[in-house]
Structure formats: structure tokens, C-alpha cells
């Protein structure tokens, strides 16, 4: 039994289609992030799951309970899920303890309730904060209280809506690890909506990329990055160097030389393809370095168009022999100057999409 199963979900506002036949399954205990550009429908998806929006078609099942489907709609308060909104949204008229205890059943005794509140606060590293007011907390602390509030009633699934977008970048990375740890300890099933690729890749067991109202690909982070299913997924997840080429079985002929297809087609098809490699796969060797290393002449020649220095490395724009422009990272101690001739080769395999 999966924790969440969504089948053929549709939702439109007037003539604007937001969700268009979306399918998604989340296994028990799994943390899945939903990644997509703004306007792709990811927040709407979260709101449909939570019950704040009614889908116009398709079904949503939480655990073994159908909550939305033809002629069926279970209101949010009976779905047993936890939500962590963008900026925490703590109740300003309640202290931290009452915020965390808000969703605990009223029939519980005071002692049970207080114990559960303490436990949830302990889990997020804020033990003893019960009597603080929300406005006395920092942004990161508020977000952790919001997580404790969502986890306290032991929901079947936790929905996090861009939970770190309001925080500055240092705090963000720290809280990301923290939340990941808390979700793991709690054994919670979670769905995290984000537009931040790094956040999606680093936090989740699986990433679902949303494009035009449906899931373009769902895979573990490594597979998603190395073997994107579509060109748009490839472009959206990480930086991509896009080249045109020819396929000959598992070999790809491009301006960067002969490359190996990471996901070769079962039969030896030939024909024109679009090839994607990651900038960090492109290795640049200067002529002096090659002379020093007595390197064999592998790779293709390229001309440096310009180089932008970032500190630990530089982003280099190169013109290949056939005139194609491409970007690569260059981490050497040398500084490349415009017009310089270099040799480039590709490390690892590439991904090809039939044109």
C-alpha cells in the first residue's frame, strides 16, 4: 500500500489548465520532492492533496482512503495530513506549545497532550520552548515549530510548501539537513514542493519533475540528473550543454567528438539526435598543460570565446570547430584568455534525445 496515490489528476481555472493528467505515487516512509518552474502547478498539486482545491478530474488516495475522485471529496480536516506552509504560519495568538498541540485530539488528557507536545518540540530541537510566543522566535525556529505542529498528530503524510524559501541561504542549508533528519527519525512520509533544484536533489529519496501540469519524470536524484527522460527535464535539472548530433547505435557523433549514450536504445537506431552533457563533464586542457603531461592527443580543438571568473573555478565559453558555442567549467590554476586554443574532451556518458 502506498502512502499517496494520485491518478490522472485534472484541474483548470476557466480555460487555464493547471493540472493535466498528473500521476504520482509516494511509498510509505518515502520523502518525495516535487520540482518545477513557477506556474507548473506544483503548489496547486499540494493544495489539491490537502483538500483546499477541488480537482476537476482524477483521484487522490491517501493510505487506503480515497479522498478525491468522481463524486467524492473529503474536506481537509478529515484527511489526516500535516502541512508546513511557506513562512511557517504559526498562530500568532497562541504560544509555541499551543501551536504544536493545536491538532491533538481534544479528548486526549492534558498529560498525554503535553507529553506529545514536548516530544515533538524535542524532535525539532526546540525542547522547553513551549511558553515562547511565535514573535520571539527566529525565522528558522518558526519553521521548525511549524514542522513540529504538523508532525505532532502523527499524520499519514506531511506536505511542505517551499518550506525554506523565506530564509537566507546559510540558514536554508542548515535547516534542510535538520528537516531531513527529523523526517527520517519520525519515519514520516513527506512531499516537498520546491523550485530549488539543489533543495529537491539533496532532500528527497525521489524527485518528481512537473512540467505543464503533469509529471515529466520521477526518479531518484542521481538517475534524474544523469539520465533525464526528456530534454526539458535535462534543461531544468542542473545546467545543460545542448548539442546536435548523430546516433549510431550506442555511439553519438557530436562537435565534442564521439560520445557514449548513457541510455542506449535497445535496437541500433541511427539518426539525428539532441545530445545533452553537463558542463562539469567537459574537461579543458591547455596546450601547455598537455605538453607538460605529454598527453596523447584525445579530444577536439576549441577556441576560448570568453571566461567568467567565479573564484574556485571559471565558466568558460568555447567555440568548437564547427562553430557551435558551448559552456564548460574550468578549475585549473591557469587563467584562460579569449582567443586561446585548447583541447576539450567529455568525461562519462551523454544523454541523447531523438529529434
Amino acid at each position: 500500500m502506498s502512502a499517496l496515490a494520485i491518478r490522472d489528476l485534472h484541474l483548470a481555472y476557466g480555460s487555464t489548465v493547471v493540472l493535466d493528467g498528473l500521476d504520482l505515487t509516494v511509498a510509505n516512509g518515502e520523502v518525495v520532492s516535487v520540482l518545477g518552474p513557477s506556474g507548473c502547478g506544483k503548489t496547486t498539486l499540494l493544495r489539491v492533496i490537502a483538500g483546499f482545491e477541488r480537482p476537476s478530474g482524477g483521484s487522490v488516495t491517501i493510505g487506503d482512503v480515497a479522498v478525491a475522485g468522481p463524486g467524492l471529496w473529503v474536506p481537509p480536516e478529515r484527511r489526516r495530513l500535516g502541512i508546513v506552509p511557506q513562512e511557517g504560519a504559526l498562530f500568532p495568538h497562541l504560544d509555541v506549545g499551543d501551536n504544536v498541540g493545536f491538532g491533538l485530539a481534544r479528548r486526549q488528557t492534558h498529560r498525554d497532550r503535553d507529553a506529545r507536545i514536548a516530544e515533538a518540540l524535542e524532535l525539532v530541537g526546540l525542547g522547553g520552548y513551549e511558553r515562547r510566543r511565535p514573535d520571539q522566535l527566529s525565522g528558522g525556529q518558526q519553521q521548525r515549530v511549524a514542522l513540529a505542529r504538523a508532525l505532532a498528530p502523527e499524520p499519514s503524510i506531511v506536505l511542505l510548501d517551499e518550506p525554506f524559501s523565506a530564509l537566507d541561504s546559510g540558514l536554508r542549508a542548515q535547516l534542510r539537513d535538520e528537516v531531513r533528519r527529523v523526517l527520517a527519525i519520525a519515519g514520516a512520509t513527506a512531499l516537498i514542493v520546491t523550485h530549488d533544484q539543489e533543495e529537491a536533489l539533496s532532500m528527497a529519496d525521489a524527485v518528481a519533475v512537473l512540467d505543464q501540469g503533469r509529471v515529466a519524470q520521477i526518479a531518484d536524484p542521481v538517475t534524474l540528473y544523469r539520465q533525464p527522460a526528456t530534454l526539458s527535464v535535462a534543461k531544468f535539472v542542473g545546467d545543460a550543454v545542448v548539442l546536435s548530433g548523430e546516433r549510431h547505435g550506442a555511439l553519438l557523433t557530436t562537435a565534442l567528438g564521439e560520445l557514449v549514450d548513457a541510455t542506449p536504445a535497445s535496437d541500433a537506431i541511427t539518426g539525428p539526435v539532441t545530445v545533452v552533457v553537463r558542463p562539469e563533464q567537459i574537461i579543458i586542457a591547455t596546450d601547455t598543460a598537455r605538453a607538460g603531461a605529454n598527453d596523447a592527443a584525445t579530444g577536439v580543438r576549441a577556441t576560448v570565446v570568453c571566461s567568467t571568473f567565479f573564484g574556485r573555478d571559471a565558466s568558460v565559453q568555447l567555440r568548437l570547430a564547427d562553430g557551435t558555442l558551448t559552456t564548460a567549467r574550468f578549475g585549473g590554476r591557469d587563467v584562460l584568455v579569449a582567443g586561446e586554443q585548447v583541447t576539450v574532451r567529455v568525461e562519462g556518458s551523454a544523454v541523447a534525445f531523438t529529434r
Partner: protein
């Protein structure tokens, strides 16, 4: 990410039912008014309308409206320009002082003038009192529009070689014309609805004639037909006003806050400018207060009945408190719905409760008499019916306060509450209303203190044997006992100045169109 809304869950029935009930309460009087007006057939209605005396009545009312509106535009625009755009000394103090005349009920101001020179009664007195009392309706929107103008346009004009005064007239004042129009329409609507000033000055405008038709042997059909004609005239102004209000009153492109206004140096004209603002305030505020103090002092040596005033204060507070509680009980479901839900039914309900905003108080008062006679006989001339009339009159104020307060509490808190297992009604009670409580309490106080100075509905519907402060002032003024009237007027002025303070503190949470109110 922009969040489009529409197919959400529906409004809770437990909220919708009382909201619809509030709308019905608001519309009920109008139904009975029309029913009464047409009770002798449409022929009788037509005969009444085409009479010469009806035509003259319309012309007298419109004449007063035109004169007062013109006067208010002149005073309001000049004062706004002086305060916002020039080097007038003490501009902040003037800005506050120029809004204070709104706090004086028109019948109190009229009393202070007519008690000074009884021969002022009639057109001149009514026009004077109404102009001095309602120019802030023009001053406020114009001053606010002027202060939000982008100084860049004025700088461009100056750089093109225009003198500062020319810039003021050709660039600044022209840009705030929509604000002037909106203010003028508010004044026109106020004059048409006013009962206190025309009644005290005995000028035969609509409100006074309708009251007379009700008093003299009570010709209900004629009173109702005239009330309908007044509603029709007022409706034209209401429609025009709401159309104007929909448009932005100023245009500024680009982001960021505009730079502060540059003041035109008055130089040698400073005494003239100061003389103008001083004269306006002396007439609108100084004269009524001083004359009231003089009569109050005379009353102390004459027949000063402390017991009567104490009991009038008690009756006033009792009626207005009952009215405020009923108003808010009806306003909470409507305001909470209007802040959170869209849809034709919710919109219809909210519009219906705004009827008290556009209808003259005398019309609602008269309609409530018909409701009392035909439908609610057991409470006719008893406290509950007065409270009901106040509720119809002041629902816009209450709904505005509730709506503003609820809108301040973020929707996402309610969504979190729902996901934690609470029904929409539980969320409303445990989160939304808890957060909105300060605003709702302030709204209740505002409604109560506005009800304290209500005159026409109180006159027509007051419980047998009770007398409010407004009624005490009214009856004593009408028989020329000005000294005896003074303590009532003084108590009223003190009570009436409180809502102005509350309003300035609440102005951030209230919708702008609710400020001031339209009930004399």
C-alpha cells in the same frame, strides 16, 4: 506564484444562513416602504409625483445640494492645497483640526446657529450649517490624493518654466480631479440624506417634508411615496459615487514610494492663507463650541434638570448598545463571508447590507415604522425595533469593520487549522475570530457611538416614555428653549467626538468608504 482561486470548498451553511438573514433584515424595510407607497395603486403614486408641490420639493432639495456641494468643494480644495502643498505654518495640526467638524452632528451645529439668530432658519441657515459640517468630505480625499501625487510631474512642469502657483493649478489640482469629484458626490449624498440640519432650520427639503407628512395626522402613503422619490434621487448619486470610487484617484507609474511633497513657499501670502483656515475652523468648530458654552452657562442659572439629562443619557446608551450588539451579530457572518468567499450569493448578501449606506436615514426610519405596524407589532415603539433600525442603518459600518479585521488574518492560518482537523466553523471560532477580535471590538464601539447621535429613526421609533439625548436637544430647540437644550448638546458633542478618535486609530483596518458614515 500567483494563486488562482475558484473551485474551492463551499461556504459553510452555518455561516451562510445568518448572513442571508442579515441581508433580509437589511432589505425588509425597503420592501415595506414600496408596499406602502403603492398601497393605493400606481395611479395614486403618479398623481402624487406629478403634483407641483412635489416638483418644488425636488428643486428645493437639489438647490440646497448644489449650493452646499459648491461651497464644500471650494473650501475643501483650497484647504487641502494649503495644507498639503504649501508652507502653511502648523500643517500637521491644521490637517487634524480640519477633519474635526465631521464629529459634530448636524442638528447640534444647527442648534448653535439658530439659537444665536433664530431668523437664520430656512435655506441660508441649512446651507451654512451643512457646508461647514461636510466640507471635510471633500478635504480628506483631496488632501490624501494630493499627498500621493508624484512630485516628478510637478518638477517637470517647473523645469518647463511654469511658476509654482501655475504648476499647482495646472498640474497638481488637475491630477486630483477624481478625488474632488468623489468628495463632492459624498457631500451631495450627505445633504440629500440629512435630517438634523434641515429639520432644525425648518427648510422644506425632502427629509423635513417626509417627517412632516408622518407627523401631521400621518398620511403614510404620501410619506412613503415621497421617500421613494428621495431614494430615486439619492440612487443617482450613489451610482455615480460608486462608479467614481472604482477608479484610481491618482496615477503614478513605477515602483517605490514617491518622494515627499515639495511645498510652495507662501511668502507674503502666509497671513491670507492662515486667515482662511482660521476663519473656516472658527465658523465650523469655534462658533458652535463657544455658543454652546454660552448657552450651557445660561442654563446653569436657569432650569437645569440634571435628573432628566441623566435619564436621557441612560436611555441613549441603552438603545445604542442594543443597536450595536444586534448590528455586530448580523455583521459578523456577513463580514467573515465577504472577506473569504467569492460568488454571486456572497456578493449579493454583502451589497444588500450596504443599503444603509445609500438610503437617507429618514427613509429607513419611516420604513421601519411600516415594518413595526405591519410585521412586528409586538415590538413597535419598543427597544428591539429601535435596535433593528440602528442595525439596518449601521450594518455597513459593522460589516466593513469585521471584513477589514478578518482580511488582516492570513488565509494560510485557516488552512493549517483545517489540515489539523478542525471544521470551517471551528476554524472561524478558534483562529479567524480570535485574530479579528480587536477589530471587531473597535467596530462595535464605533457603531454604538455613531448610534448615540442618531436622530430621525430614534424620533420615529423611540420606545414610549423614553427620551434620548438627541431627542431632548431636538424637542427643546424646536420650542425655543435653547438654554435647556444646551446640556443635551454638550453631552452629545462629547460622546460624538469619541468615534472620530476611534476612526483615526482604526483607519488602517477600515475600508475607506466607511469612514465618517452618512448618517446625520
Amino acid at each position: 506564484m500567483a494563486r488562482l482561486r475558484s473551485p474551492r470548498d463551499r461556504a459553510p451553511v452555518l455561516l451562510l444562513i445568518p448572513a442571508v438573514a442579515a441581508a433580509i433584515v437589511a432589505l425588509l424595510p425597503l420592501w415595506y416602504l414600496i408596499d406602502q407607497a403603492t398601497s393605493q395603486g400606481f395611479g395614486a403614486v403618479w398623481d402624487e409625483i406629478v403634483q407641483d408641490r412635489t416638483l418644488w420639493l425636488v428643486l428645493r432639495s437639489l438647490g440646497l445640494t448644489a449650493v452646499v456641494t459648491t461651497g464644500c468643494v471650494v473650501i475643501g480644495v483650497i484647504a487641502a492645497v494649503l495644507v498639503v502643498k504649501t508652507s502653511l505654518p502648523g500643517r500637521r495640526i491644521w490637517h487634524v483640526a480640519l477633519t474635526v467638524p465631521l464629529a459634530i452632528p448636524s442638528y447640534v451645529a444647527a442648534y448653535t446657529w439658530v439659537s444665536w439668530r433664530p431668523e437664520i432658519a430656512g435655506f441660508g441657515g441649512a446651507a451654512l450649517v451643512l457646508t461647514l459640517g461636510s466640507f471635510p468630505y471633500v478635504y480628506l480625499p483631496v488632501a490624501s490624493a494630493l499627498s500621493r501625487l508624484d512630485p516628478a510631474t510637478e518638477e517637470v512642469a517647473t523645469s518647463l518654466g511654469l511658476a509654482p502657483w501655475r504648476v499647482l493649478l495646472t498640474v497638481s489640482v488637475r491630477q486630483v480631479r477624481p478625488a474632488i469629484g468623489a468628495g463632492a458626490l459624498l457631500v451631495a449624498l450627505y445633504v440629500l440624506s440629512d435630517f438634523g440640519a434641515v429639520g432644525t432650520m425648518r427648510y422644506e427639503a425632502f427629509s423635513w417634508v417626509i417627517y412632516g407628512a408622518f407627523r401631521s395626522g400621518f398620511n403614510p402613503a404620501r410619506a412613503a411615496i415621497l421617500a421613494c422619490v428621495l431614494v430615486a434621487v439619492a440612487a443617482v448619486f450613489v451610482a455615480a459615487e460608486s462608479r467614481l470610487r472604482g477608479r484610481p484617484s491618482f496615477i503614478r507609474l513605477g515602483a517605490g514610494a514617491p518622494r515627499p511633497q515639495q511645498a510652495v513657499a507662501l511668502g507674503r501670502a502666509t497671513p491670507v492663507a492662515l486667515g482662511f483656515t482660521t476663519a473656516v475652523l472658527a465658523l465650523a468648530l469655534g462658533f458652535p463650541v463657544v455658543n454652546l458654552a454660552i448657552w450651557f452657562n445660561r442654563g446653569l442659572s436657569a432650569d437645569f434638570d440634571l435628573g432628566a439629562i441623566g435619564s436621557a443619557l441612560g436611555d441613549t446608551l441603552l438603545l445604542s448598545a442594543a443597536g450595536a450588539l444586534l448590528t455586530m451579530a448580523l455583521a459578523i457572518p456577513v463580514g467573515a463571508l465577504a472577506a473569504r468567499r467569492r460568488g454571486p450569493l456572497v456578493q449579493l448578501v454583502e451589497r444588500a447590507t450596504y443599503i444603509g449606506h445609500g438610503l437617507p436615514a429618514i427613509v429607513i426610519a419611516l420604513s421601519m415604522v411600516f415594518v413595526g405596524v405591519h410585521l412586528l407589532e409586538p415590538i413597535y415603539q419598543r427597544t428591539p425595533l429601535v435596535a433593528l433600525a440602528y442595525a439596518v442603518l449601521f450594518l455597513p459600518l459593522g460589516v466593513g469593520a469585521v471584513r477589514g479585521a478578518v482580511e488582516q488574518s492570513p488565509v494560510v492560518l485557516e488552512e493549517v487549522g483545517r489540515s489539523l482537523g478542525y471544521s470551517p466553523m471551528a476554524v472561524l471560532r478558534r483562529i479567524t475570530l480570535r485574530l479579528a477580535a480587536p477589530g471587531v471590538a473597535a467596530g462595535t464601539a464605533l457603531v454604538m457611538l455613531t448610534a448615540v447621535k442618531e436622530l430621525p429613526a430614534t424620533l420615529l421609533l423611540h420606545p414610549t416614555g423614553s427620551e434620548t439625548l438627541a431627542m431632548g436637544l431636538w424637542s427643546n430647540t424646536n420650542i425655543g428653549r435653547y438654554a435647556a437644550a444646551a446640556p443635551y448638546a454638550a453631552t452629545l458633542v462629547l460622546l460624538a467626538s469619541v468615534p472620530t478618535l476611534v476612526l483615526t486609530r482604526m483607519s488602517r483596518t477600515l475600508a475607506p468608504n466607511d469612514a465618517g458614515g452618512l448618517t446625520p
